[in-house]
């Protein structure tokens, strides 16, 4: 059990690194850590992941602001206009079967993997050309 707690915390660190590097919340790693390592159900893991994302995104965007990368007005508009979608999404997550959520989540992970491979290949070509 102690080993599981440590593993979950280590995956948390990687979720944070992914968050900072890619501009995502880190939920893509929080959710598997919470289900596969800590044994939460899919919906509980998703809900808990959302809570964990808030401080991570706050600190990450604060740090990005210091680097001069954050367009805070656009971020505010997108964030405020996302609330309706977020509430509808949560309501859906609470009525859909767990199995459907898991498969959907796995597809979301594979899609991010595909994006990363495409980006990595583009970056590598640019680096080798330079």
């Amino acid at each position: 059990m102690d080993g599981d707690l440590l593993l979950a915390a280590v995956i948390g660190v990687f979720a944070g690194i992914a968050s900072g590097l890619l501009g995502i919340g880190g939920g893509i790693l929080f959710v598997p850590a919470l289900t596969l390592v800590l044994g939460l159900g899919q919906v509980e893991a998703q809900a808990t992941s959302l809570l964990a994302i808030v401080p991570v995104a706050l600190v990450g965007s604060w740090n990005q602001r210091r680097y001069g990368n954050l367009r805070i007005r656009d971020a505010g508009v997108i964030g405020l206009l996302s609330i309706g979608g977020a509430v509808v999404g949560v309501a859906l997550a609470n009525v859909l079967p767990e199995r459907a959520l898991r498969i959907g989540f796995a597809l979301l992970m594979l899609n991010l993997a595909r994006q990363l491979v495409l980006r990595g290949r583009r970056d590598r070509r640019a680096r080798l050309a330079a």
């Binding site: 995502i24 964030g79 898991r102």
Partner: protein
């Protein structure tokens, strides 16, 4: 027109966030790059800023359903704060395709585990 695009990005990101318990960045970052002509670092930074609001409201809604495990959230969330500082620091310095490939491999393994578990 510009606000309509931002609204579409927000709505799509919000839906994914609520439905899957993520920030919605995997949807918002590509849209910021493609639709808004953002440069990569600005897209990542602005997506993270939007996620603060998205995740806060989605988490609060999940809290009303009684699904949030605060202790488990702290256990993965606090180490992640150190990680995000490291990640944003790395992002300013590393141009790494290796990181992209490593994360892709990690995601594929976890996705398979999630479905067969």
């Amino acid at each position: 027109m510009r606000v309509a695009r931002l609204a579409a990005i927000g709505t799509a990101g919000g839906l994914f966030s609520g439905l899957f318990g993520v920030g919605g960045g995997t949807v918002m970052v590509p849209l910021l790059l493609l639709w808004m002509g953002y440069e990569a670092r600005a897209a990542a930074a602005t997506s993270l800023g939007a996620i603060v609001l998205t995740a806060a409201f989605a988490a609060a809604t999940q809290g009303l359903y009684g699904n949030v495990d605060v202790l488990a959230g702290v256990l993965v969330g606090i180490p992640a704060i150190g990680g995000v500082l490291l990640g944003t620091w790395l992002q300013q310095r590393v141009h790494s395709d290796t990181i992209a490939f490593a994360f892709a491999a990690l995601l594929v393994v976890a996705a398979v585990q999630l479905v067969i578990a």
